[in-house]
């Protein structure tokens, strides 16, 4: 099987000037597949519809944690309500300032082992899949790779 066989088609995306508050809302209402609503990561497209970046829950956490906390061990001294306070402070930040810009992508025809290799090497949750024109056509999720393994081990040969 290849990336295009297990990917979820892209239904919703963000633009670079979406604010953090809007992003959170969009991620709540984005469609995951036919039945489910709410995603933990979305791709960001520029004006021309090309991939500009990706925003995941972790990117949003990073945007909310003050930069000085990465420089010293201050976690023990934080106060109740600090996270919410900081979140409200940065609500107006735009996607282009919080997204991960260097996105690891795959071609639609890459075999699943290629995807699994990237997931483990770069600690990914999702990999955007590009078509021949370089446009995003879907996303391969870690869980779908895992289902492929489940299938291989638990289902009888040739089904």
């Amino acid at each position: 099987m290849k990336a295009k066989d297990i990917m979820e088609p892209v239904r919703d995306s963000l633009s670079t000037d979406t604010t953090l508050k809007e992003t959170v809302n969009l991620m709540q209402v984005a469609r995951r597949n036919e039945s489910k609503v709410g995603v933990k990561g979305m791709i960001v497209l520029d004006d021309k519809g090309n991939l500009a970046g990706i925003v995941s829950i972790k990117d949003i956490l990073k945007a909310i944690i003050p930069s000085y906390m990465s420089l010293m061990e201050l976690g023990d001294f934080t106060w109740d309500g600090m996270l919410e306070e900081m979140a409200r402070k940065v609500a107006g930040k735009e996607v282009k300032d919080i997204m991960t810009r260097e996105v690891i992508t795959v071609d639609e025809d890459i075999p699943l082992m290629g995807c699994a290799d990237l997931v483990v090497k770069h600690n990914l949750q999702r990999i955007p899949v590009l078509n021949k024109d370089g446009k995003v056509i879907g996303i391969v999720y870690v869980r779908d790779l895992y289902y492929a393994i489940v299938k291989a081990l638990l289902e009888k040969d040739g089904k």
Binding site: P66, Y68, M69, L71, M72, E73, D76, F77, W79, M86
Partner: protein, 456 residues
Amino acid sequence: MTNEVATAAQPFVMDSTFWTATIIFILAYAIIVSEKIHKTIVALFGAALMLVLKILEQREAFHVEALGVDWNVIFLLISMMIIINLMRPTGFFEYIAIKSAKLGRGEPFRIMVIFAVVTAVLSAFLDNVTTVLLLAPVTLFIADALEVDAIPFLIAEALASNIGGTATLIGDPPNIMIASKAKLDFMSFIINLAPAIIVIMVAFLFVLKIIFGKKLKVKPELKQRVLEMDEREAIKDPLMLKKSLFVLAIVTLGFMFHGMMNYQPATIALFGAGLLLLLSGTHDPHRYLAEVEWPTIFFFMGLFIIIGGVVKVGLIEWMSLKVLAVTHGNMFGTSMLIMWFSAFASAFVDNIPYVATMNPLIIDMAHQVWPHLQGIKLLHNPELMPVWWSLALGACLGGNGTAIGASANVIIVGMSERAGKPISFIRFMAYGMPVMILTVILATIYVWLRYYVLKI
């Protein structure tokens, strides 16, 4: 001990080598000031040119003290950085910072004063950049907890670190370089500079009181956030902390007595770094060595070689003759000229290349004035001593003038920008320049009174 001070005194001619070296020197400094290319790259390439164009021989650049890399400076810096890198994970610096904030009882102005004093004291014994890197994050954190503007606190810390760093041999790179070239020991710096710095620090706190004493307000319920912090939670590795404090005590004692025991400061620091690495029991020294600020270290190395080139061809001698033409060999005039020129020069350009140039220039000048003296007799001539102290005071205190005057300022400005609280060049200068002028005036009075009136 052999002395190579005399090297600089050869007669010179303004031949093609002279001009080549001069052009490399001027271009390198101009590009460093313009910040178009990273200063470390400029210094290393300039140094390489000095060697490739045969202005300096490699042997001179690597092995001759008066012309090449000053390994005393290099190993002192590297060793102190290793000690700090080993100490950081213990949580000691978080402990000090949180403890300081609590001592301030959540009162913003009290916290500002305590942080300024702690910064000054730490800066006297650690590199200024290290000090602000350790204190500024906690300052931003405390300012968020109290919901006050962090910028006045950060600027106060940058200024305090430059003031405090002036007090000792290891406090600020210019002092390390001056000590090495002039063969001055740790205690001479304490005896000659610390009294001036204590006076200056008191005056600085008074200025803070006038500017911020009544301005900073905080809601009473927010003070509780700071008071509830338990600084003991910061300590992550008590055993390693004990080892670190033990080594730090040895290093401090070593610095105090290195002159008496005839050790160079770098020997003391290297012993401390080696001992703490050994005591830490680490099998992965790579981690602590990798965190050494190698770009700074290589910047120094490149710079020393570039300066060596212009010393060898006689540019520095020519410059020293020009200074003498202005001062007519009057050492009081020279002290004052050097202090004020150094202050304004250091406010706008990196004081490291500046002092690297001034050191051989002063030695050359001394050589012209007292041609019959050699070695320590020349370097420690009682009439020359106030000139060294004026250079240290001017170059270190001058760093406060602008946001780019000292590395500590650059770090503070960068960090507050990343935290979404940018400090403009003008805003920094509005505080920094008056403080610089005030502190240099006090330093001027100190030098005049101590060395030319009381003569002690």
